[in-house]
Point group: C2
Chain length 227, copies 2
């Protein structure tokens, strides 16, 4: 009888890179931005800290791999359907990215803070470029528009998550929206929020409504260049 699970070449490989990434993401989800230490990861998979370095050359490589995995999780089908109008496809992409990333707030900083030059990131960029070419944009304007959209999507997610150092997931959207409304709403119905007290932060805790509103303004601006 042979060994049921296939081994690679050397001795048994007790760990896998995926286990390590699972542990890192788990720590990030539970403890926020800085919770994924090498020692913590190793402890979570039940191994000495150095064992991690068998699979990744350094911590940055772990982070890169994790970012790639997160970006690889986005469902490309929803926006590669060339039968749908291009604006709908962009909105689908934007919503998909937002929901994927805000599921792991602690990891958002790592995604945005890195070079985003892995295969999945590039594939995403390429799909977006094709999409904008479908819309009728020339190569230069497509590149610029894709940059603009990337900035909006990642920028808004990054800003939203920026001041949530605490552990755990974001508060539910209903509560976030309520907080934002409390912050921005002027006291008289038609008044303009003039005091700092009325707008306590520059940009935080936005709703999906507001996210889509901004995205649509961007799309309006881009659409005007199509003709």
């Amino acid at each position: 009888m042979s060994v049921p699970t296939e081994r690679r070449r050397g001795p048994r490989r007790a760990l896998t890179e995926d286990e390590i990434l699972d542990a890192a993401l788990g720590l990030l989800d539970e403890g926020g931005q800085d919770a994924a230490s090498v020692r913590g990861i190793a402890a979570r998979v039940g191994v000495a800290p150095n064992a991690v370095y068998t699979y990744f050359p350094d911590k940055a490589a772990v982070v890169r791999a994790l970012v790639e995995r997160l970006l690889g999780e986005v469902d490309h089908d929803v926006f590669t359907d060339r039968g749908r109008p291009w604006r709908e496809r962009v909105e689908a992409l934007a919503l998909e990215l937002r929901s994927r990333l805000s599921a792991h707030p602690g990891a958002v900083g790592l995604v945005v803070g890195g070079p985003m030059d892995g295969p999945h990131a590039l594939a995403l960029n390429e799909h977006l470029l094709h999409l904008l070419a479908d819309a009728g944009l020339g190569p230069t304007e497509a590149a610029r528009a894709s940059y603009l959209l990337i900035v909006y999507v990642f920028g808004s997610i990054a800003l939203e998550v920026a001041d949530v150092h605490e552990a755990g997931p974001l508060p539910p959207e209903t509560e976030r929206v309520a907080a934002r409304d409390r912050a921005f709403a002027a006291t008289p119905a038609d008044a303009f929020p003039r005091s700092s007290a009325a707008a306590p932060t520059m940009a935080r805790f936005i709703s999906t409504d507001q996210y889509l509103w901004g995205l649509r303004r961007v799309l309006d601006g881009i659409a005007a260049r199509v003709g």
Copy 2:
């Protein structure tokens, strides 16, 4: 003869908070994102590491104060002139912020990564809200538009700086643009950049031209809501 420099109450105050912030910013400029350690700051002002804690409760407070100082350096006059068209004023604000922040790439991550809830940040937000009210937007749309603009300005700067972990200032814009063009330019003149090799990162090293292009698309989208 009396002491020329005025003292507060206690013994001589050899350090000032500004000296500490100068040191922190200097380290950030020379060493990038993570170069501003408490120990490094203290060494640079010639003092034991703990002395810093006389002026700031913890490192986060140092960072907050530094962010506030950077945001306080933006020249408000260029965009509070209500005589100029509102789009011009937004562009002036966007360019001012970009030039101020990209002068200190190592500090950008700290600005964007924090809550941005200091007095200067709030004042900036308020000015932007007023500006958009001048443009004719109602309170809700002004808040949403200001959020959109903030996301664009800070998001693009953050993404641009994200993969420059190395020390020193950004390369000069001419070189950055050349790198970007090399990256995005399709090999045949009219071809569309399809390969990942042709677009090696999602969004990096953009020119002022491209920055303004994106900003103007955003402004187009906002302007369409004014009527």
